[in-house]
């Protein structure tokens, strides 16, 4: 469970996230929506400890990210919005590095790397430099790294962008399974079809402020005339 309590973040006088209050429960796939520049990535970066929080607190399974960062960080896995990390390493070196960071035993590591990279179709590329990977391959490498240590809480910033249909399907299945086991899956996206298929609950943010939080049914009910999610989204994020 992730709980965001009255969190505010400012960049050089501009408020990117304003008094955000949000609880992401266990056992559900939680979608985080909003137009470009709404503050999604900023929020996620505060949850993961990349950006310091100006005001408010964030806890992951009860551990405060600012006060007990090590304990909190061991619980979640994070896929950043840009998968261009450690380009000078080979895929396998990156995954082994992640394994060392999370102190995974060797046999588990080997088995999981084998399973994950084969299901994403990047196994054969493992001995190449990440620099030579395509965008989607990099994305899948990072995702494999996150799933390697089997974290309870998944935090994914636009995880499906750039994935081909098969990999996208694989990841969505994995997200469903993980949530079904009672864990937390929190991801941001722009793709409304994905939201419709996948999410149990959604939060919509615009200009750093929460516009809506609830399940899909509630979202549609609130705008009774619309059966089209796109229209609902546009209405919710309309500034005027």
């Amino acid at each position: 469970m992730i709980s965001i309590n009255h969190v505010t973040k400012e960049f050089a006088g501009k408020t990117a996230v304003k008094n955000l209050d949000l609880v992401i429960p266990d056992g559900k796939i939680f979608g985080f929506l909003g137009p470009n520049g709404a503050g999604k990535s900023t929020t996620i970066k505060m949850i993961t400890g990349i950006l310091p929080i100006d005001n408010g607190t964030i806890t992951v399974n009860g551990f405060d990210i600012t006060r007990e960062p090590m304990k909190a960080k061991k619980i979640f896995g994070y896929v950043p919005d840009s998968p261009d990390v450690f380009l000078r390493l080979k895929g396998i070196e990156y995954l082994n590095f992640i394994g060392d960071v999370y102190d995974l035993p060797r046999d588990i590591r080997e088995e999981k790397i084998d399973y994950l990279t084969k299901s994403f179709g990047i196994y054969e590329a493992l001995d190449d430099y990440i620099q030579t990977y395509s965008h989607g391959m990099r994305q899948k490498t990072v995702i494999s790294g996150v799933l390697l240590h089997d974290p309870d809480v998944w935090i994914l910033d636009e995880p499906l962008s750039g994935l081909d249909p098969k990999s996208s399907y694989t990841l969505k299945e994995m997200m469903r399974e993980h949530a079904a086991k009672g864990n937390t899956v929190f991801f941001s996206t722009h793709v409304l079809e994905v939201v419709e298929q996948l999410c149990d609950e959604v939060a919509i943010i615009n200009s750093g402020q929460l516009q809506f939080r609830g399940n899909m049914k509630e979202m549609k009910e609130q705008f009774e005339a619309d059966e089209n999610l796109e229209r609902v989204f546009l209405e919710l994020t309309n500034n005027e």
């Binding site: 450690f86 000078r88 082994n96 102190d103 001995d127």
Partner: protein, 550 residues
């Protein structure tokens, strides 16, 4: 034309912009500039005395124009060298060209944009020598206004030909040579080449040092008018034409020579643009990074192994340094430069037996003196460790990974400092080889010296890392930015020189400290103190800065 200028402006702005620099850093540049003013005076008066002496010696035989010839030939060679590195970095190593290609620019416009940065380096270089020497020559020879006008025009057009020659050779080479297929390898190759070039240049100069012969040859040549000039400028026609233009500035032939220079330079520009369109784009777009080989599952499983986090972090740092050409050149090759240079000099001088005696001489010195001398010497050779003051900045956009992965901040930072220390180990190893093999140092002295140097190297690694953590440069697009146009190496130098100078001066002046072992003990204690302080400072910086770097 307007569009070309706009493009040049944009390309230059991306390279030299002061945006994103803190006011502290800007102030630092200002101080550096002020600091240079007295040096400029010393430089100009030095130039003045050289020009005056040579002019007085050459004028009686009518050979004073040889001075100009010498200047133009010398400048040509310097410009060749500057062109080589600046064209490589602007044309081939900067990544920005791919960003511009999709836009509707003519190829010649892109080439002009790319040439702008090298030309700035060329004018800065030639300006330092040409402007004062040509002015001083004019004063000494009582030249007319036309001379100064011609000199100015020549200053503007003179770099064109060396630039074009180097650019065309490079573009041709990069287009057809095999190394160009791999960008990373080319970078390392070019870096090593200039390294070898400088050392080879030094060796040639050393081999040719036979002063008697040179003087005789010069004396014979001065017999005939213009003989010296012909000799000097024989290989460089543009230097000859430029000299003649200035020499006969008052006459029509001077004007003709100037027009000839203008024509040659215009031709060179056209040739550059023409050849560039044929060679450059094909060469650059063929560059790829990395190579593909067949896949072997066993190789993959062999790479999976369990190790402590700190070991994994250090390994990762070392891999990135050795695999990124810029980091490899800056952190590894450049810091090996001084020790390798030293070895070359020692090998060439060893015949004169003065150096092989040095070891025995050191043994005869008082233990204290020889240890302190050696210690200062090795610090001087090691210099500031670039791997240390780039610790954080090297991560660039990967830095956030340190923040979201569950690794303790101190583990991250100290493994970076340890990496810098490990890289310095290479230079220390070379120094140690010199000490044992060339200088025949006594074993006790040798062991103490190496031990103390290792301690000192830990101190410099910590200082560099702390400075970088204090103000890292994470938002770079090209790795060069981590090292270029930052004052951090200067700060590192000041702090390290201050600390070591303080320690050495204290020990030197305490008369009660005598003998090798006592000196070593005190030195070790003071170094340990300095290390302890830098540990405390670094830990404090981790607390205040680690999470606030973005």
């Amino acid at each position: 034309m307007n569009k070309t200028l706009r493009l040049i402006h944009t390309m230059l702005k991306m390279q030299y912009s002061m945006a994103g620099k803190s006011t502290g850093e800007k102030l630092g540049y200002l101080f550096l500039l002020l600091f240079l003013v007295p040096f400029a005076f010393i430089f100009i008066s030095l130039m003045n005395s050289i020009v005056a002496t040579l002019y007085q010696q050459l004028a009686p035989t009518g050979n004073e124009n040889a001075l100009l010839g010498l200047l133009f030939v010398g400048i040509t060679f310097i410009l060749f060298f500057v062109s080589l590195s600046s064209i490589l970095s602007s044309f081939y190593f900067a990544e920005d060209i791919e960003g511009f290609i999709p836009y509707p620019f003519h190829p010649y416009q892109l080439l002009a944009g790319k040439a702008a940065a090298p030309f700035i380096s060329l004018y800065l270089t030639s300006g330092v020598l040409m402007v004062p020497i040509l002015t001083l020559f004019g004063i000494h020879s009582g030249a007319s206004f036309i001379y100064y006008l011609y000199a100015f025009i020549l200053f503007i057009i003179f770099p064109v030909v060396p630039f074009t020659v180097v650019a065309i050779i490079l573009m041709f080479f990069m287009r057809y040579a095999n190394i160009a297929k791999n960008k990373d390898r080319t970078k390392v190759f070019a870096g090593l080449l200039s390294f070898v070039f400088i050392i080879g240049f030094n060796i040639i100069i050393r081999l040719n040092q036979d002063p008697g012969q040179t003087a005789e040859g010069a004396a014979a040549l001065i017999q005939e008018q213009n003989g010296l000039l012909d000799l000097i400028t024989g290989m460089v026609p543009t230097a000859y034409f430029s000299t003649m233009a200035l020499n006969y500035a008052r006459e029509l032939s001077g004007l003709l020579f100037l027009l000839l220079m203008l024509a040659i330079s215009t031709g060179a520009v056209l040739l550059f643009l023409l050849a560039g369109q044929k060679l450059y784009f094909k060469g650059i777009l063929g560059l790829t990074a990395g190579s593909r080989k067949t896949f072997d599952p066993h190789k993959v499983t062999r790479k999976i192994k369990h190790q402590p986090v700190v070991a994994a972090m250090i390994k990762k740092e070392l891999r990135i340094i050795f695999r990124t050409p810029t980091f490899f050149m800056q952190c590894v090759v450049q810091s090996l430069f001084a020790p390798v240079f030293l070895i070359v000099i020692l090998l060439f001088e060893s015949s004169s037996s003065s150096f092989s005696m040095l070891g025995t001489m050191l043994g005869q010195f008082q233990g204290k003196t020889s240890l302190l001398l050696l210690f200062v010497f090795s610090l001087f050779i090691l210099g500031v460790n670039p791997a240390s003051y780039s610790s954080i900045s090297r991560d660039g956009r990967n830095w956030p990974a340190n923040l979201y992965l569950p690794v303790h901040p101190e583990a991250v930072i100290f493994s970076k400092a340890a990496t810098a220390w490990l890289i310095n180990l290479l230079s220390i190893l070379l120094l140690a080889i010199i000490g044992i093999a060339v200088l025949n140092m006594p074993p006790g002295l040798f062991a103490l010296w190496v031990g103390l140097t290792l301690l000192a190297s830990w101190f410099t690694s910590l200082v560099g890392t702390a400075l970088d953590l204090n103000q890292p440069k994470l938002h770079w697009t090209d790795e060069q930015e981590v090292f270029k146009s930052r004052l951090i190496s200067l700060f590192a130098l000041l702090i390290e020189m201050g600390a070591f100078g303080f320690i050495v001066i204290i020990i030197w002046n305490i008369d009660a400290v005598e003998g090798l072992w006592m000196t070593a003990l005190l030195l070790a204690l003071l170094l340990a103190g300095a290390i302890a302080i830098s540990h405390v400072v670094l830990k404090r910086l981790i607390r205040t800065h680690y999470h606030n770097t973005i």
